[in-house]
């Protein structure tokens, strides 16, 4: 690590479009950086563990709070329903309905209830697995219970319980939904992995718009580059986004991946590509450091 890069940085890897190579880039970065943490924040379908034959011996359950209504006290005034920003509560006449899957667990309903009829009770939404050591990488994983709608809180808590004295690479879910934003929020840098196709471009544009709202500095990695990346090149030039690496389209890399091997370990040339990405990323981090100073 060069001298200007602080020890405690967080790099988020996101994409917009699914299947562009987020996990490939996240694992590759973790292997290249050296001693670091790798967080699987795709809580709906975590898959980083497929590349690491580890035993998860430690699990932390995560609960969220949902309202519980004491109908002996409720006067159906509707204050809870009109306060809820997510329309999880409905009150009319002498009826109160609660839609658990719409609830974000903010607790506003219990705060505003004038009769103290609404209290909060915990409900298990998933687990954080880890840490487990693999080589120089410390692995963590967020895993949402089947039937739960959102992993946002799980990811927030995972970022809270990880080692705060080590860097972290955070592999986000695809898309630009709340759990993705939670994974990126507060990071020192966000890598957006895309592919040089119209689909890749369209979802990249959405992701750029969303991540810019968070104020996290952004760079692009083009995966499956065929050397004809003009779709992405033109967009990045116009949006003033740096392209930090181009990972070539390579059948051997795909075959290795399908066997659970990372291309860095299995395909000649890939270690150098990721070393180049890491150098480009360090340069970006140092620019940011000069601009505003880091969390560390």
């Amino acid at each position: 690590m060069s001298t200007g890069t602080p020890r405690r940085f967080h790099i988020a890897v996101a994409s917009g479009k699914g299947g562009t190579g987020k996990t490939t880039v996240a694992i590759g970065m973790a292997r290249t950086i050296g001693e670091t943490q790798l967080l699987d924040a795709d809580a709906e379908e975590p898959n980083i563990h497929l590349f690491f034959p580890v035993q998860w011996d430690k699990e932390t359950p995560v609960q969220r709070l949902i309202p519980e209504v004491n109908f002996d006290r409720c006067t159906y005034c509707g204050r809870c329903a009109s306060t809820c920003q997510f329309n999880a509560l409905v009150v009319f006449g002498q009826k109160l309905l609660f839609f658990e899957e719409l609830c974000h667990g903010c607790g506003a309903c219990s705060l505003v209830c004038p009769e103290k009829a609404v209290t909060e009770k915990p409900r298990r939404i998933g687990v954080i697995r880890g840490p487990v050591q693999w080589g120089r990488t410390l692995l963590w994983e967020a895993r949402l219970e089947v039937g739960e709608a959102s992993g946002t809180q799980l990811i927030r808590e995972m970022k809270h319980i990880i080692r705060q004295d080590l860097p972290a690479v955070i592999d986000a879910a695809p898309g630009a939904s709340c759990p993705v934003m939670e994974a990126i929020k507060g990071s020192d840098y966000c890598l957006l992995v895309t592919e040089p196709t119209p689909f890749g471009l369209s979802d990249l544009q959405i992701a750029v718009e969303a991540v810019r709202e968070l104020g996290v500095p952004l760079g692009v990695v083009i995966n499956r580059s065929t050397g004809e990346d003009h779709l992405i090149d033109e967009f990045c030039a116009q949006a003033q986004l740096p392209i930090l690496a181009r990972i070539p389209f390579n059948r051997a890399a795909a075959e290795a991946y399908s066997r659970g091997q990372h291309p860095v370990d299995a395909v000649p040339g890939f270690a150098e590509i990721f070393a180049g990405l890491w150098r480009a990323l360090q340069a970006q981090l140092e620019v940011q450091l000069q601009k505003e100073g880091f969390r560390a």
Binding site: N87, A88, G93, K95, F99, L102, P179
Partner: protein
């Protein structure tokens, strides 16, 4: 009493029935007795971040509506409508006026269950 609600793409009787319930542009609230007694209400749930069907259902419940003519209703919205005693009549490819007339002629059939799955939540 404007006891019928019809989702509409514009605030007019000749507008198409809006196929979406929670994200409908307008509700035409109209009397079953008197076709001249109607108003167009902008859907207050249109810009809801989530749970639009639930919020739209609550809005109709507050208006004292008894029947809803619309394209599709998801499970959450349907629960609210059911609890509020609002009967749901699915319609397809009609204007508000046609749907209203078909309702009065008893040629629409009431659904006892949601007509679609819930939309993506987050």
């Amino acid at each position: 009493m404007r006891d019928i609600a019809i989702t509409a793409t514009a605030p007019a009787l000749d507008a198409e029935v809006d196929a979406r319930f929670g994200r409908a542009s307008y509700f035409i609230l109209i009397s079953a007795e008197n076709p001249a007694d109607w108003e167009a209400a902008a859907n207050p749930a249109l810009s809801a971040g989530g749970g639009a069907g639930v919020a739209a259902g609550q809005f109709l419940a507050s208006k004292g509506v008894k029947a809803l003519l619309t394209g599709n209703v998801g499970p959450n919205a349907f629960s609210v409508l059911q609890a509020a005693g609002i009967a749901v009549f699915p319609v397809n490819g009609q204007t508000v006026r046609e749907a209203y007339q078909n309702y009065l002629k008893n040629s629409l059939s009431r659904t006892a269950q949601p007509t679609k799955a819930a939309d993506h939540l987050h």
